[in-house]
Symmetry: C2
Subunit: 338 residues, 2 copies
Amino acid sequence: MKGIRRLAEHLDISIGTVSRALNGKPDVNEETRRRVLEAAEHLGYVANQSGRALRKGSTGVIGFMMQTGREITGQGDIFFMSVFDGVQTVLARHKLDLVALLCSSEEDPDDYLKRMVARGFADGIILSATRRHDARLEFLARHSIPFITLGRSLTDVGQPWIDLDFEGMAEMSIERLVRGGHSRIGFVWPHGDLNLGYVFIERCRIVLARHGLTLAEDCIFRATPNEAGGYAVARQIKDSGEPPTAIILVNETLVTGLYHGLEEVGLRPGRDIAIIGRQSPQARFLSPSLTGFELSLRDLGIALAESLLSTMPAYGDLYPQVVRRKLWPMSLIDGDSG
Amino acid sequence: MKGIRRLAEHLDISIGTVSRALNGKPDVNEETRRRVLEAAEHLGYVANQSGRALRKGSTGVIGFMMQTGREITGQGDIFFMSVFDGVQTVLARHKLDLVALLCSSEEDPDDYLKRMVARGFADGIILSATRRHDARLEFLARHSIPFITLGRSLTDVGQPWIDLDFEGMAEMSIERLVRGGHSRIGFVWPHGDLNLGYVFIERCRIVLARHGLTLAEDCIFRATPNEAGGYAVARQIKDSGEPPTAIILVNETLVTGLYHGLEEVGLRPGRDIAIIGRQSPQARFLSPSLTGFELSLRDLGIALAESLLSTMPAYGDLYPQVVRRKLWPMSLIDGDSG
DNA sequence: AATAGGATCGTAAACGTTTACGGAAACCGG
DNA sequence: CCGGTTTCCGTAAACGTTTACGATCCTATT
């Protein structure tokens, strides 16, 4: 005898009543409910996930899809750990659990997601590493799975999203650099089809044009979004015919490598070349100190969760005032690098 | 009509046969199997997770339990991502999926695990952040859930584990430092009850004793295992009455902060104080270069997965030669810091 | 031609829940 | 004391699979 049946037998009560008691249904005597809850606690009973999910059609689980192998995502788990923390504080209010759906670097993300959805793994999904054209969005929309993306995409199916305000970042960094006398501004573009690179560079072009400047194509450096990628960029800069006098990094993972690489080729950030990037725990200890954009990852996670919940039938009415799409603000922290 | 029933109807075949065809059972005509597989592919059918799990009693999912909020785990950035990658290459061979079970920093890890297990979430579990005394091990053993720990524990229930070879690290670092003339050697001990700190420091004491030396209690510095923690240690070192001439870091996340902190208090690694730590993508770009221990995280993940599978009834015979418990070797990479 | 045995498939039970439905008791106002 | 309402609980169906069992057809052997 296992599961709810055992509990029911132990209490000499029908399993129906036990289930109702545990699920907080109204039509159960408060005294019985107390006894059931107590016995459940005592026997360590927790409803079996599969049985419950099969009957209810929902799992009580939210999935956060991310990709393993750091060349792809460009975000270390420092980034995600903090976001998770925020997401979880919201989910905990509704007894929802968060699991990370880990897509191997050897599997196609679209296939992976399809598999997880068809399995009925999660009630709602948070997608990261949003690509410029992302078939996952269409798939989820077609199957009407509640989801939200961390990052925009050209593929728009009306889903909510939250994205870092790369436009604002472009505005502020370009304005600052132009004001500082720079006219030849470079940009490091992470490999892959992530949308953020496009968004950022498009706005850069606009802002530059406002000042009668253009973005030199040979000042766009492609790199894998990790330390080694940043390191490699330094040499590209040095070897380019006419090096930029300033560099903007849209990723936070490149900067340590870039600093080191620049030092090797004899360029000092803030003196020989201006650097504007993203703040991070590691960046705090760079020398010269980094000029870069900062944001609250935990709050971002909270917003993600609330926005996702607002699209879910069972929770939607609890978050009526929530903004479904939002550019997440970043603030520029002055440093000595640019 | 949904699920397997739809598929069966579409093919005009019973659902039993469809299921058998999909699961590779022998008693099904090869031609029928081909048709079923084709139709499944075409209709995008994937067996519902809950139904299958309910009937089979297994989910096809391996859970990697980790804790969100970096103050606790002490493992940064690339660490988990790379381990995951290794784990997944093994699991993929058996059509098993890996998900990360994310325990919020606000929830008790023991409770969290119990909940996940009772739910029947995963067929096997990999535990990280193993504590010196860890009730999770007893719980899993009592319920005979296959699992492995990344890290040893004093709580021994016969489970397999893989742990970094902190003893070897202690031997090599102490020997090296003593040979270099150091007699006052400090150690940074990460906060929390993680077992690795104890293991390391115990062996340090033994090796020191071999040379007639002792570990000064006031040279043991506690720190949160992240950049800020390392930064704080620098000041503790400066302010201690008789500062150590060498410091060993057992975490890889502290080192950038420590470097920065030391610079502020006027101590240069390798000249004023020797530093031995752990290599990492960030550490590659420190100056002076770090003397530290390196390991292959991906291979570690592979070993974890193989060892876990060897304890699982369904896969055990496939990995007969696998070592169930292993100290994972690390090699010392020379740098200028110590 | 009769029979044994293999190949292939359909049927139905089972997995552990939740919940619609209905029934029994208790209560209440007139 | 009676009809109606409320409170509480038991019964059984349903969720989507897998699989033991048995039935049917076909082939080969005697």
